[in-house]
């Protein structure tokens, strides 16, 4: 990156340049994990949507269709991200529909567990911004740990 000569008295320009450099450090920290992160989110939200669909005997056909469509994640990042977004929207919609039903508490538990893993990823992703506090693992380590959890869950072991 080439930084233009900045007027030493222009504090705004200096601040913007500092932020641009900090953003580049941030990109270096997370860039290699972008695709794995989208894969993890795709799997996580698809699993949550399946759980919510099981809780709702009247789950709409479009939910079942989305689960079928997303069985195999797209290989390209744009396609993966698009499906991930639709899965998230479907989870939010299904969760709202289940609120107030006998399955509300189970639905809350499922979505809260997903949200906790999402928060863990968000914190790790943004750790270099300095806003998340404490000694946080990098996103690659968080994804690896969440991947191991998913494997344990799929074979029925205690997480």
């Amino acid at each position: 990156m080439v930084i233009p000569a900045l007027d030493p008295n222009d504090s705004f320009a200096a601040e913007q340049a500092g932020l641009a450099l900090a953003c580049l450090d941030w990109v270096l920290d997370v860039h290699a994990s972008e695709y794995p992160c989208e894969r993890t989110e795709h799997a996580d939200y698809r699993e949550t949507l399946a759980t919510l669909a099981d809780l709702d005997p009247g789950a709409a056909g479009d939910v079942r269709a989305l689960l079928d469509e997303t069985y195999t994640p797209p290989a390209d990042l744009a396609g993966l991200r698009d499906q991930g977004r639709r899965l998230k929207e479907a989870v939010a919609h299904s969760y709202r529909l289940l609120a107030g039903s006998p399955a509300a508490s189970a639905a809350h538990r499922a979505v809260a567990e997903t949200a906790a893993r999402q928060a863990q990823r968000e914190l790790a992703w943004c750790r270099l911004t300095g806003f998340p506090r404490g000694d946080l693992p990098n996103i690659a380590d968080v994804l690896a740990e969440q991947g191991r959890r998913a494997v344990r869950a799929s074979v029925g072991a205690t997480p």
């Binding site: 601040e15 913007q16 932020l19 641009a20 900090a22 953003c23 941030w26 989870v91 939010a92 969760y95 709202r96 609120a99 809350h108 979505v111 809260a112 949200a115 906790a116 999402q118 928060a119 968000e122 914190l123 992703w125 943004c126 750790r127 270099l128 911004t129 300095g130 806003f131 998340p132 506090r133």
Partner: protein
């Protein structure tokens, strides 16, 4: 987390006992201060203003994201200016209105919800679409959104 928070807020929505002018972004950084007279001379950025519950602004000014901890005592200063207890006491004295801790907690969640959406979604999108000259800062502030997502988790994720 956003869906959980929406439901949490809907389930607990409080009654507004007294309609107030709510600023919506009431914190340090949004007022002008005259050092000679030690007076606030203007409050800025009114684009989020609406008629609502005073606890919205009070909770906002107390948020962790723009406060500071005293390194010597560990005490938290709202907007890096005043302790929470002092702020509540001074507000009640000046306004003649009470401060309800339960509604303060509710509007803290409202504010964190708003901040998470604005910082993680709106800000980076504005940067990506070149709608702001503060694109680097708006991108970087997503980290503060992550901080609030985690704060929300501890409340609405129970």
């Amino acid at each position: 987390m956003i869906a959980l928070t929406q439901q949490w807020l809907w389930d607990r929505r409080p009654i507004v006992d007294h309609v107030s002018v709510v600023h919506g972004d009431y914190r340090n950084g949004n007022f002008l201060f005259d050092e000679d007279s030690r007076q606030i001379t203007a409050v800025l950025d009114w684009e989020l203003t609406y008629l609502g519950d005073r606890h919205h602004d009070l909770a906002y000014a107390m948020m962790k994201g723009w406060g500071e901890y005293d390194s010597a005592t560990g005490e938290f200063y709202c907007s890096a200016l005043v302790t929470r207890d002092t702020m509540i006491a001074e507000y009640e004295k000046a306004s003649g209105l009470s401060v309800d801790p339960e509604r303060l907690d509710y509007y803290t969640v409202v504010n964190m919800y708003w901040a998470a959406v604005a910082l993680i979604a709106t800000g980076p999108r504005n940067s990506a679409e070149r709608l702001t000259h503060l694109d680097a800062m708006q991108t970087f502030l997503a980290g503060l959104g992550a901080f609030y997502i985690d704060q929300l988790r501890s409340i609405v994720g129970k």
